[in-house]
Symmetry: C2
Subunit: 181 residues, 2 copies
Amino acid sequence: MREDTRTRIQEIALRLFTEQGYEATSLREIAEELGVTKAALYYHFKTKDDIVASLADLRVAEVEELLEWVKTQPRSPETRREVVLRYAEALRRPRYMEVARFMERNQTALRDHPKIVRMREAMLELVKEMSDPDDPLALRLGRSMSLFALHAGKWMPHEESVSEDEVMEASLEVALRLLEP
Amino acid sequence: MREDTRTRIQEIALRLFTEQGYEATSLREIAEELGVTKAALYYHFKTKDDIVASLADLRVAEVEELLEWVKTQPRSPETRREVVLRYAEALRRPRYMEVARFMERNQTALRDHPKIVRMREAMLELVKEMSDPDDPLALRLGRSMSLFALHAGKWMPHEESVSEDEVMEASLEVALRLLEP
DNA sequence: GTCTATATCGTGATAGAC
DNA sequence: GTCTATCACGATATAGAC
């Protein structure tokens, strides 16, 4: 059974926005890859920003959920570990990592987009929850990098002999190590 | 003595490109901040790309120099440590960190720009020189993140009570720790 | 749902006067 | 070195037929 057009637009847009950048990608390009005209896109999405919003939705809810959860937990090594594990788990879901990469690569272009702003704020709060204000600065910094380390594995170049799972496992190891002094 | 116009253009462009993104920043905006018309910019820079090139120049030579040096050294813990220290030292120079941030934030928009391509390749080689192919994956990943950790300190949010130097010192601590198993 | 046609705008860039 | 005036282009977005 064939995907619906809306989903195909999302997929094409996600790829092009990430590869070339949001502003550098025109609706004409997306339409051409889809095999329709520019105007047809406007039936499925009201504006170009709307496409971004639909992509952000794939991720925002999940991060905010994780944030809500962590707020109910004590600030302990176990909680931090669990946050990293849950975040890593989320990254395995289809398209999640791709959306994360799209956002990361287009932060400036999208810095005023409401959904992106919410996303950034949630991530900052999440990072904040992972340290006490009186922890040493280097430790706090390391923990801030922890979640990012999980993304980094996918973006760093490595040989083809290494499998996805191995990279994810190694990233997780780095991330967990960054939690501790 | 007043800065020359060329330098002022670079400064304004660097700030706007970083804050809003390269594509989102028009020459009109830069000209307005400078207090001249768009056309006047073209006396100082032949194209918009030329402004980027002049900004990249502030950093490319330095990284390539560091790369050349590391290639003459054995792959040892001391060499890796020295690379991180030298890179951290370079980041203290005026505008270097700002240029790094500008590049980082606009990687996609500038992905075909010759100077940016050279820069990325040099950084990748530099990272490569910091590990042996048979080191464990997690260690190689951590070392890849090491230089990035030095950037990260500046971007992560932290209280105003913390000084620049303290942040840099903490970043350095994280970076050095990432070098070791 | 998709089309053609068009409106409207801002962009990077150039020519030539001063 | 800076200006005015202008160009050519491609962008997002809309109207209305099919």
